[in-house]
């Protein structure tokens, strides 16, 4: 089958319907294993049991940024190739990415109070992550409030590409500026600085969260394709009505 056939909305619906039950099952199994390992992981020598928040906070942060990467790639598809599925993928990723960014900020705040002594500080990492959430809300507003979906999609695509500038700022903020937030400790030159007893559950939870993201994204893309079908039928209906009335 040529790859281009996969980029057909009807084909995507068939593939998503086949994939979703498997993805749901694997995600649930991974979460069960990950949560068991996370809740039974040893305490950190400095942070004590609050390190358990890391198993939620770190994957949520990664996926908050992954959501924007997906939206930026989709934006290219929308603006350069004008492919309707690119727009579907971008629109479907926005609320999911926003939800994970929100989880990251909230769990980070709850982790910050006992470890840093404050819920919030306007340092580079926290502020750039908050900007990411605001950008997500902007894109969602553009998608859902535009009267003509095509115009909303193009505006959202442009904002997605402009907002991608924020991603390296988030990533390198802890290196470029003096921040309360710790520098990268999982993916870094020289290997992870986290003990395997904490790293293994973290990676399992990250995989579970990633599969949850993929599952929700595919399900949202399916919803969006159906929504567009409903819209095209209604437009046809309105057109017929106008012809009869004329």
């Amino acid at each position: 089958m040529p790859v281009i056939d996969l980029a057909n909305p009807s084909r995507v619906l068939v593939i998503v319907n086949r994939l979703l039950p498997w993805l749901v099952a694997v995600t649930i199994i991974l979460f069960a294993i990950g949560l068991f390992r996370a809740l039974n992981a040893p305490d950190d020598y400095q942070q004590g049991a609050t390190v358990k928040i890391m198993f939620l906070h770190v994957p949520a942060a990664w996926l908050g940024m992954l959501g924007w990467v997906i939206m930026s790639i989709s934006a290219l598809g929308t603006l350069v190739w004008r492919h309707p599925l690119a727009d579907v993928a971008g629109k479907a990723a926005a609320p999911i990415g926003a939800a994970f960014t929100f989880i990251c900020l909230l769990t980070g705040s709850l982790w910050g109070r006992p470890t840093w002594g404050t819920y919030w500080v306007w340092d580079a990492r926290l502020t750039s992550m908050l900007i990411l959430l605001l950008l997500y809300l902007g894109v969602i507003a553009l998608y859902w409030t535009a009267e003509e979906p095509g115009r909303g999609a193009r505006a959202a695509a442009i904002l997605s590409l402009v907002g991608a500038i924020n991603l390296p700022i988030i990533k390198f903020s802890v290196d470029w500026w003096n921040t309360l937030h710790q520098p990268a400790s999982v993916f870094r030159i020289g290997g992870s600085k986290i003990d395997p007893a904490l790293l293994t559950p973290l990676l399992i939870m990250a995989l579970a969260f990633t599969l949850l993201f993929v599952t929700l994204h595919l399900a949202s893309m399916r919803n969006e394709i159906l929504r567009r079908r409903v819209r095209s039928i209604r437009l046809l209906q309105a057109q017929k009505f106008a012809e009869v009335s004329a």
Partner: protein
Amino acid sequence: MNLGPHADFIVAAYVVTIFVIAALVAWVMLDYSAQRRILGDLEEHRITRRSQRKGQ
């Protein structure tokens, strides 16, 4: 499992995460059933897309 003196913060983080994810999953599922229902109603009234009619 002993969560130490900061148990409230740990429990709150897990509860909030579960709540947000549950809300997201519920929204996606409800949206799916709503779109299916609307499409079903439209098809019941024999209103289809042009591409579907061509295929018939």
